[in-house]
């Protein structure tokens, strides 16, 4: 193993070269033997779909990179490959260092169990050593502001409470690389500030962070570099500000962005864009 050549620059935490992920979309997945046997006789009705294609990027150790793009652009597929839960179809992927993932808040939480119970299971899923968890448990609950509610089943939690608990568990991992998926836009403003502060603290401690989000604000304020994914391909990459600007400019020009701008400007409520002279 030691003699194996690891591709890429060793000072990078993550190296990705021409990475691709293909799903074979079967229009009707055979789930019974009869269907499977019939499927052997007929040509397979599968359609290749590249969720991520030819993506090349790298994140230096201690860097913070944002991945932005619209829904279905391949952001989450890319993050799952980085997290190691999904195997790429082609290309090179090198992750140097211990890894923790914050993929959707409270992934693995069970609604019928208490907050305390779920924290312990999540900690085990994330590979946090038991001794460290025991020592840090009260701090974690304090950070999530859930001291009063930690012993009630989480099905009674609000979305914000769940989000706070999920975030608090994930950041208690002492990993060198942290992958974060669509989680910064949750909680109230005060909690968001607290999360950002905590992320900055972790970054200054030399940790590498990859944030996947369509929240342009989070990417702009936390990341130094960004990659803009569009239908599985890299549309732009570079300094976070520039990439986010280009992304925002493009989103406003097409799709849902246009609608919201019209609505925002519709002050007189007639359903039509306001005449500039009315304002």
């Amino acid at each position: 193993m030691a003699t194996r050549q690891v591709p890429g620059d060793p000072s990078d935490a993550i190296t990705v070269v021409s990475l691709g992920k293909r799903f074979d979309l079967r229009h009707e997945r055979p789930t019974t033997i009869t269907q499977e046997l019939l499927g052997l006789l007929r040509p397979r009705l599968t359609e290749p779909f590249w969720a991520v294609q030819d993506v090349t990027m790298s994140v230096p150790r201690g860097g913070a990179m944002g991945v932005i793009g619209r829904n279905g652009s391949g952001k989450s597929t890319l993050l799952k490959m980085l997290a190691g839960t999904l195997a790429p179809t082609t290309g090179t992927l090198v992750v140097r260092g211990s890894l923790s993932t914050l993929l959707q808040l409270g992934a693995g939480f069970h609604p019928d169990f208490t907050g305390r119970n779920n924290v312990w299971l999540s900690a085990a899923l994330l590979g946090i050593p038991e001794a460290r968890m025991r020592a840090g448990f009260d701090d974690l609950v304090g950070f999530a502001e859930l001291e009063q509610f930690i012993d009630i089943p989480i099905k009674y939690y609000s979305a914000g409470m769940l989000a706070r608990l999920g975030f608090a568990v994930s950041i208690s991992v002492d990993a060198e690389i942290l992958l974060i998926d669509e989680v910064l836009g949750v909680g109230d403003l005060a909690f968001q500030r607290k999360c950002e502060a905590r992320m900055r603290e972790m970054m200054s401690g030399g940790r590498t962070i990859v944030i996947v989000s369509h929240d342009a604000h989070a990417v702009r304020s936390l990341c130094d570099t960004a990659v803009w994914l569009d239908r599985g391909h890299v549309r732009a990459a570079g300094p976070a500000d520039e990439v986010v600007d280009a992304y925002e400019a493009s989103s406003l020009g097409e799709g849902p962005g246009t609608v919201s701008r019209v609505r925002a400007a519709d002050v007189d409520g007639d359903g039509l864009p306001d005449d500039p002279e009315d304002a």
Partner: protein
């Protein structure tokens, strides 16, 4: 279109051993989940075999006055059914463990094999409780426990290997075909009669016995009864076929699971 195969390097991938407390955490959750929102909670684990024993005692020892030699029938039955119950409930739990907890595999990086293993481990609690009640039953009938009872340890290893093997195989196949559950249900119904639970292996003609003892659960029950009730050790000839079958089952389950696990998270 052919594409070059991927090169993937994770410098800090955790081993299954480093995930061991996940195994215990999942097993603990499995146990708690079974008794959640029930007033008696974990006491069901004791109450269940206790009430079963009471009914069997009533039917077999009082109504039918059955006995197997010097051994009261309820003791004979209990010495078999605790292993049969462990075997079937462990496999039933493990069978769905991957399919129902796919969301964990998609979000977290840990060896998938932990899911069925945790299900089997969780049933170890029921086995322990049942064994305790069986101990009380032996005390009630003033039956001494001979030193040969220690042979239960290697016998349990044989039974556990078969249980884990079938658990891995069914858990992996169940992600692809849901009819695995139907098949296993049928196999358990028939298997109950092909395992010496309600009868003693001594009652089976020698020609059939060799075949019967290819069943690892039969091997365990046969061995335990000889050790407990006769104070002897089960013969090697009676033990090796089941032991071999266990090893084969474990190998098949392990290989099948390894082969199929890369497809678990690919199902869209």
């Amino acid at each position: 279109m052919t594409v070059p195969p991927p090169t993937v390097v994770f410098t800090h991938r955790k081993s299954a051993w480093e995930h061991r407390h996940l195994l215990f955490a999942l097993a603990g959750r499995d146990i708690r989940a079974r008794y959640r929102q029930s007033f008696l909670g974990v006491y069901w684990a004791v109450l269940n075999p206790l009430l079963q024993t009471l009914v069997f005692w009533l039917v077999f020892s009082r109504f039918l006055r059955m006995s197997a030699g010097t051994v009261p029938f309820v003791v004979l039955y209990f010495s078999g059914v605790i292993f049969w119950n462990f075997f079937t409930t462990a496999i039933t739990g493990a069978m769905g463990s991957v399919a129902t907890q796919m969301y964990l595999l998609e979000k977290h990086r840990f060896p998938a094999v932990i899911l069925p293993l945790a299900s089997v481990l969780a049933r170890g609690m029921d086995l322990t409780v049942s064994a305790g009640i069986f101990g009380l039953l032996l005390a009630w009938y003033a039956m001494p426990v001979p030193v040969t009872a220690l042979v239960i340890v290697p016998l349990l290893v044989i039974g556990l290997a078969a249980t884990i093997g079938i658990s891995l195989l069914t858990a992996a196949l169940n992600t692809l075909y849901r009819d695995v559950a139907q098949l296993v249900g049928l196999a358990f119904t028939l298997g109950f009669f092909l395992t010496p639970v309600v009868y003693d292996t001594e009652a089976v003609p020698a020609g059939y016995r060799t075949w019967l003892l290819l069943n690892p659960v039969a091997t365990v029950i046969h061995g335990v009864r000889i050790a407990l009730f006769r104070g002897e050790l089960p013969s090697l000839a009676d033990t090796w076929p089941g032991a071999l079958a266990s090893v084969v089952l474990l190998a098949i389950g392990w290989i099948a699971f390894r082969q199929l696990q890369s497809t678990f998270t690919e199902v869209l």
